[in-house]
């Protein structure tokens, strides 16, 4: 019988045909398959998920940050009602008054630490597994740039609550930069916008934190993920496949069947 079942016809009409229509014009379906349906080494483990975890943390930071920007005001001027700086007042309002604001701010505040910790764990995994070696050197280099940009995100974000901790930690941070040889004092004056922290400092750091640095970080992450997709996940150092030895004829069974495709036993 060559005729299709009713269900197949519906699937063809409702799902596959529109996907084909899109794919013919954008190659989007092929691209998605290229990105997601990849062969990975048989002996990968949870250690290889640290990069995805860091990416997830970054996405959480992006989403919560966008929402926080709707309520935060980067001004060091004194609020005439509360008698406190406007920035600090808006942080208090987010934390204490706005519904679920405490949760979203908490996610952003703790998520920042989670992001940095995951970056370091991910970097440690890549280093210990030797996954930075040929042909993945550029993965490592873009990864280092992501780490630096991520830490700058932390540095600039720390000032924004504009409380005593934020202010004095930033004074010390700016002056630490200022002790760098030759250009250090110039860098410090640029960061503070003048010889000392002033009224222009907080808006500048806010713009750095939520516009300039994410504008650098998002393309870097895009390049990093493209390279991972293109070059594939590296085998662990103890992998028999990578070592060119015969692989035991054990096929994955159960839920894992078909998820992992081997190389046919001839590496």
């Amino acid at each position: 019988m060559a005729t299709k079942s009713k269900k197949d016809q519906i699937v063809e009409l409702a799902v596959l045909a529109p996907l084909d229509w899109v794919d013919e014009r954008t190659a989007g379906v092929r691209g998605t398959k290229w990105f997601l349906f990849r062969n990975v080494p048989r002996d990968i483990s949870w250690a290889q998920t640290l990069g995805s975890a860091a990416l997830t943390a970054f996405i959480v930071q992006t989403l919560t940050g966008v929402i926080l920007a709707m309520y935060y005001e980067p001004s060091s001027a004194i609020d005439p009602v509360t008698g406190k700086p406007i920035a600090y007042t808006s942080i208090e309002s987010i934390t204490n008054d706005l519904t679920l604001g405490w949760l979203v701010r908490g996610m952003h505040r703790w998520g920042a630490s989670v992001f940095i910790i995951l970056l370091f764990l991910h970097m440690g995994r890549v280093f210990l597994f030797g996954a930075y070696k040929y042909p993945r050197e550029l993965n490592w280099i873009t990864g280092v740039l992501i780490l630096v940009t991520g830490m700058l995100m932390g540095f600039t974000g720390y000032l924004l609550p504009w409380d005593q901790t934020a202010y004095w930690a930033t004074v010390v941070g700016i002056n630490l930069n200022g002790t760098a040889p030759f250009l250090g004092p110039w860098l410090a004056e640029f960061l503070a916008t003048g010889p000392e922290i002033g009224a222009d400092t907080l808006p500048k750091w806010y713009a750095l934190h939520m516009l300039l640095l994410p504008g650098a970080l998002i393309p870097l992450i895009g390049i990093h993920i493209y390279l991972v997709t293109r070059l594939g996940v590296a085998s662990p150092p103890w992998s028999s496949e990578a070592a060119g030895r015969e692989r035991a004829e054990v096929q994955p069974t159960g839920a894992r069947a078909g998820l992992v495709r081997g190389s046919g036993g001839r590496d």
């Binding site: 700086p85 004095w168 010390v172 002790t179 004092p185 004056e189 503070a192 003048g194």
Partner: protein
Amino acid sequence: LSESRHDTPHLPGPSLWPIGFAIGVACLLIGLVISWIVAAIGAVLVVAFGLLWARDVTRDVRDEVPEIEPEIRAVSDTAVAVAPAATRAPLPTYTRSRFLEASTLGLGAAIGAVVTLPVLGFTILPSFTNRREGEADLGPIENFPEGQYVIASYLADPTQGEVSRRTTFIRNNGLSEAGEPSFTILYSRCVHLGCPVQPNGPIDEEATKEIDGVALRPVLAQSFGCPCHGGLYDAEGNRQAGPPVRSMDRYTFSIRNGRLVLNELYAVGNVSGTGANATISRYPWSTPGTHVDGIEAWLYPIVPSQVTG
């Protein structure tokens, strides 16, 4: 009627002179608005490049230049035989696609520079220009008892608000040997990494005054300490212990109508002597943590305050 040379379209030879002609026209038009000199230069360019262009374009249709046979001295028969047939040298060619490629890149770069450079300047320059803090009037000098430090707190720039609050430690040293009033004015910013230095002694709360936005609190202190990393300074602001790399910054002062006015902040390498008789090694102000004397100062050859004032 059927002359074959009219069947093919006539293409003038390639020429770069129209570019100069266009620049001349632009120069002329701009000059009409801003300056007759520029307009005159533009007119000269238009005429010169127009003539050059016309010469290139009409080269094909102008009468052939009579070619003069090269003079050949017949040394032998063979020499005459290899004498090259006199042909006109081909015009230098520059293909259209190369020209479009170069002009697209060049114009793109020029437009990019015109847009980027002012933005880049606005990003960086405001941090360094017009940053000199105004003078601060701290009130009559009678408010500063002789031989005792007073904590003075004031707004350096009231338009910026509370963020510009500065704290200084001021000691009236009485008259110097030359009979001039002498003040020691230390800036509370720690020269390690910029934390707020505190006087090590009790504040006389009853004698606290607030006059015209300047808070004055007398304090019994012969040393100053920084809470962040344990920097310790003596009564002249010299480093006694901890990580600071120089002595505490000081202000110059002047006395106007019997009022103490703070002028300019400067960095101090070392202070020898005390009070009115102190010898202060003075340097341009620089970021906390940067050396101003000794071999380490070579790491900071030019600091912003030397350039921007």
